[in-house]
Symmetry: C2
Subunit: 359 residues, 2 copies
């Protein structure tokens, strides 16, 4: 199936590794990176693993002016017996192609992309931390490189994978976060780029995130850009509510990201026969559920934190505490189940995990 | 007022210059560029004019992942007597700061930015073409450079100016373009980044532009993202309609760009006592005006083409021809007046033009 010819150039000097308790998310990178180039008419070529190093671009490269760039985020886990596990990497590659289509960027070969990733992980395997809660964060991304100031799709691109060892998201075990419901700024609307993983969506979110930071909230909850009342998603997580025994999450409406953790949580809940529905959810419904004591739990889902219980929402000055600000039972159970599958300490009934160098 | 210390390093070898009739917009660049660096706590520093060359960034630089980047577009004109003219450059610097604020990027000193631009133009003055309709296109831009994968504002930035000699926009004189009214994709909504000049807005527009290209239309006309019926702007132009003797343009509503050509056209029309209003304009109103023979003229406004008469709109399969597909009288008059002021062949009653190295 695969005929990818990856050129490997090893770095001459290895970098020192930080102790896992000193790792700051996304600041330390491994010794190598993967690169492939694309030129219209020629396609993808020059697939290579090279020492991690700066990249050089023309000042007129499309990425700087017209923003054609997409990315993915995923993790590799190392277990005691030396097995490396990836969680649904096929889904990331598929979503990368969905994003590429929206941004008029070239498709990647999903099998080749996985092969390239496996090769890079092999080269930098010693960088995967082993301590509980730690992992290797993987960032595949594609940028437009044509040196041309014109609003049209670039004719050349670079695809890269860089990797960063990350410490435990929860230093003292899983604990709830505080979320600010945003009512001034809008992240995306249907017809826009909200369901693609592209830089512009994040750039536009910073202004609201700054307010949240200042007021002691960890992330923003976005409302829809049209009626400003339906719940979309959190900064970098999808969101779930347990209301009166039923789990509810906003339906994929074209403006939110089709999260891989989100879809896995839905499958897990169905597997457990916990009622779960995808539909429109308004902030008024959440306020009402809170008022009548029916808002049992709330949590965000995403690759970084896996499950992030939500203990408090603030919406236009009003505070809604969830489960007395404590981690709910279902949130904790989902966290344990999903991280257990990811790390290989629990059975994987769905075939989600890809195991590398298994004996 | 100014104390900017600009270090100048001249290039050792000058590039060959293309004849103006061979210039393709945004592909040829002058011999030098301007750069300044910003670091949180230290501010802007190391202002320099250096030989035009590629730039080097960490693969984890914020610009590649979270898209903090803004830009401006302006032109310098050279007249027979050696005077270089800039058109309302203060407005570009002001808009750059507006964009910077929306994207959580640092403010620039508008006077310093202008001083830097003048210095760069001095160094590369021989690159400004002189032929009718030609000019030097100027692209100031700012990118986020911090090597950190985290959704938060970068702590370091680079501000640059690059310049490109451009040929006449209209090879055979001003002529009308065909515009496709977009009804599937959305460019921006209020609360988003539509009124900032940032890369993400353009990245998200490419998909619709591709359809327009394929079907023989030069640009897309965006409708509002909420009701999908109010007119916003064209791909890289604001838009005006002359309906029954009155000129109408969509009001600044938070999701369209506050175009410098747009505001100059409004001032010119007022100066001429031509009735002009900024308000909501629906596509149905345009259809109706067309049906009743009241759609006298339509044109786009922007730095690249100055005035671009519109001869045809297509909206959901329906065609609206404007002025029999020919350039309207007012469009032509506005084009002549504005380009005359820009090139110094006509009086500038508004004080819009900044003249450099005037004897
Ligand atoms: C905007 C946004 N929504 C949701 C998610 C969650 O997606 P996933 O579960 O695939 O990590 C992320 C993070 O990846 C995100 O950036
Ligand atoms: C989206 C958009 N609207 C409008 C304009 C026109 O603005 P200006 O007249 O300042 O060039 C531009 C181009 O600069 C643009 O990119």
């Amino acid at each position: 199936m695969s005929n990818l010819n990856i050129q490997i150039t090893l770095s001459e000097k290895k970098k020192d590794k930080l102790p896992t308790d000193q790792l700051v998310f996304g600041t330390t990178f491994t010794d190598h990176m993967f690169i492939a180039d694309y030129i219209e008419g020629k396609g993808w070529h020059n697939h290579r693993v090279v020492p991690y190093a700066p990249i050089t671009l023309e000042p007129s490269a499309t990425i700087f002016h017209y923003g054609q760039t997409i990315f993915e985020g995923m993790k590799a886990y190392l277990s005691e017996d030396g097995v490396v596990r990836l969680f649904r990497p096929d889904q990331n590659m598929k979503r990368m192609n969905h994003s590429a289509d929206r941004l008029s960027m070239p498709q990647i070969d999903e099998n080749h992309a996985l092969e390239a990733l496996v090769e890079l992980i092999k080269v930098d395997k010693e960088w995967i931390p082993k301590d509980p809660g730690t992992s290797l964060y993987i960032r595949p991304f594609m940028i437009a490189t044509e040196p041309h100031l014109g609003v049209s799709a670039s004719k050349s691109y670079t695809y890269m994978i860089i990797m960063s060892p990350v410490g435990s998201y929860y230093e003292e075990g899983i604990h709830p976060v505080k979320i600010l419901v945003e009512s001034e700024y809008v992240r995306a609307v249907a017809g826009g780029t909200g369901n693609a993983k592209t830089a512009g969506n994040y750039a536009s979110s910073l202004k609201a995130q700054e307010v949240a930071d200042r007021e002691g909230y960890s992330q923003v909850l976005w409302l829809d850009g049209i009626e400003r009342k339906y719940i979309e998603e959190v900064g970098s997580m999808n969101v779930f509510f347990k209301i009166d025994g039923e789990v509810v999450t906003p339906a994929l409406n074209g403006s939110i990201l089709d999260g891989i953790t989100r879809k896995s949580i839905i499958d897990l809940l169905k597997h457990w026969s916990v009622p779960v529905v995808e539909r429109r959810v308004s902030i008024d419904e959440i306020r009402e559920a809170h008022r009548t004591g029916k808002l049992d739990e709330a949590f965000g889902t995403g690759t970084a934190a896996v499950i992030s219980p939500i203990g408090e929402f603030r919406y236009q000055g009003e505070l809604f505490y969830v489960n007395n600000g404590e981690t709910g039972e279902l949130s904790a159970k989902l966290y344990d189940a999903l991280t257990g599958i990811q790390k290989g300490t629990q059975e994987d009934p769905f075939g989600w995990v890809v195991e590398l160098n298994k004996k």
